[in-house]
Subunit: 413 residues, 2 copies
Amino acid sequence: MNACIITIGDELLQGFTRDTNSEWISKHLLDYDVHTEYKVTIPDDRPKIIQTLKRAISDQYDFIFITGGLGPTHDDVTRNALKLFFEVSTVFDQDHHEKLVEWCHQRNIIPPLNLESQSTILSGSTSIPNPVGSALGMSIKYDGSQIFILPGVPAEMVGMMQETILPKFFLKSDFSRFITLKTVGKGESKISEEISDIIHDFETDVKIAFLPQYTGVNIRIKRISKRVGIAHTVANLIQKRLKGLIYTNEDHALEEVVGKMLRLNKLTLSVAESCTGGWLSKRLTDAPGSSDYFLGSVIAYHNNIKKSVLEIPDTILEQYGAVSEQTAKLMAESICKITGSSIGISTTGISGPTGGTLKKPVGLVFIGLAYDGQVFASKFNFLKNRTLHREMSCTTALNMLRLLLLENFSNTF
Amino acid sequence: MNACIITIGDELLQGFTRDTNSEWISKHLLDYDVHTEYKVTIPDDRPKIIQTLKRAISDQYDFIFITGGLGPTHDDVTRNALKLFFEVSTVFDQDHHEKLVEWCHQRNIIPPLNLESQSTILSGSTSIPNPVGSALGMSIKYDGSQIFILPGVPAEMVGMMQETILPKFFLKSDFSRFITLKTVGKGESKISEEISDIIHDFETDVKIAFLPQYTGVNIRIKRISKRVGIAHTVANLIQKRLKGLIYTNEDHALEEVVGKMLRLNKLTLSVAESCTGGWLSKRLTDAPGSSDYFLGSVIAYHNNIKKSVLEIPDTILEQYGAVSEQTAKLMAESICKITGSSIGISTTGISGPTGGTLKKPVGLVFIGLAYDGQVFASKFNFLKNRTLHREMSCTTALNMLRLLLLENFSNTF
């Protein structure tokens, strides 16, 4: 089964208001094995609404979701456009209207002039109650498509989906057709090469997609045949092949996975950051409950802080420089000592745009890791883009930590 | 002038990967007076790509942006679909290819098998350099529409837009029809009340929109009459009325504005963070050149770090608690002393989801500010959502710093 989502609203086309509705709907439809194959955003414009719906119906989607433009103000034109399209009259829900008027009275609000529209639905449609707002939703069967017409306010749309549409119109499938494996440490093309035989062997059963981000590649496995469970079989094969490259087969962030490993092994962590400027600590503390293992950090942006707080000797900074393996190692060791944590991690690099030299160009970074009396640091040359350099440094630091834990603790995934 | 944006990618239709590309493009096109009127997301599917482009061309948009599906793997089918649609052959850019191979060699990476595709463009198209990735972009004029074909990786798309497409293909109206005033510290309805007479007086000349975000409200002024310059006149009136509420009339982030003020006055800053866990330092160091004024931070997530590194006395933590005005003030003073900075700023709060009590609920935060021998702290109750609480705490801290600087230095905006 497939679906098309039409979101309506001028504000969604200006880049300032995010269309979270289509995200929510498509994500939740997957649980019912319904795949969104088309998402379109159009202005509050009658001809455009009619043209877009006409196209969607001719494309024969099983389900069409329309959100937005059902409110009481002058720019909410969806109801009228659909009335024209379906060539139907409207029905007024007197009960619903009285409830709205009563609601206004209770709050000493004068009912707005055009409140009637909120209780008006298309003839031949089934009304969908709105648990958190005023406008009624609608459902209509037309030319083989089941069409849902919902308000644009996210909470109202979600309320209608959860309380009426999903339980009433959809059947939950007990075996998901999708599995996502999240990887870090290798590029998209390398990974696809390493599993090319698996892709080939199962090409009639699953479709494998690579979703590259700068911080890692997600491998998405989608069952396309009737072999229930085949997506899991293929996922297991890929996991065995790629081993440590995959950090989760669930919807977890890298920092959550690392956090879970630390918690499980009753380890604590502290951070000494230079170029990443707090981002690594921020990511670690994004995870709820991170206070179980994360103790704290020193952001030693200026060299004086490296000297005074982290006690990196002048001689090291002069001989090797702040961006060096030696400094990275000392930073990791020092933060361990200062906080008493079991593991210390450090970053020192040149994120740019300025500050690079021939020998130490923008993009260079050293990441240090201290654990159990040992310390090491690795050198990387990332992109010369400040934001990406910082982001990749954080991700790589988290991944080095993950690999260290994998190596030392057999109870981690 | 209007535009249509076609984003391609299975992952964008499953609700897990956000389509930030269309947001970015539509937002930035507004500066060139180009309005996005259609946004559509489709799968990596050849017939669908062809059908969608055909429709967009028949709808006669001035500009059509296509992003996604130019990568080197098997599911990147955009280039091929467009080749079929335009009925053209391809051109191989040998120079670009050699650069990519060289790049791989320098990093001891074996060039992936399908690297050639990254240097292949459609005949008749103009190639668009990719400053941060491998795939070339393309521009093609067809049936009255200027079509841009860009990679789906946001940083690559942005790089191409900023370095080539916007400066080369678009004319910035030298007297922009749009002005955006960015505010922080008050809600949408309060602000609209305060300037309601200005909105009314100029309603035939400008349309004023409020774009609320959790971290502040942007006021967007759009000229709708032929009175060139009227948007600036209205912007000036609003700026005079709202004074310190507006932090910029340009596209600057709050941390950049604060950074500029610090640099101008040769001041230095350091940070002591608890609940924000590094995010405030991260935001400060997002700004290039922040090493001019930002010295460093201590992230005292665990109370032991508050005691040992920031030297907050046991008695204070026991009597008032870690989340208190007293602790916030001592943290700000202490980080000043440790780093020798002219200004110190601190955060301590309960971001949740757990850790709240009746007296100190989730959402509570104290922000401290030490400067010139003086120190104060303010108390806030923000949302009970962990991410939003942390984000609002950071923004409020930056704004308190901005207001302190405004008060003490007449040369700041």
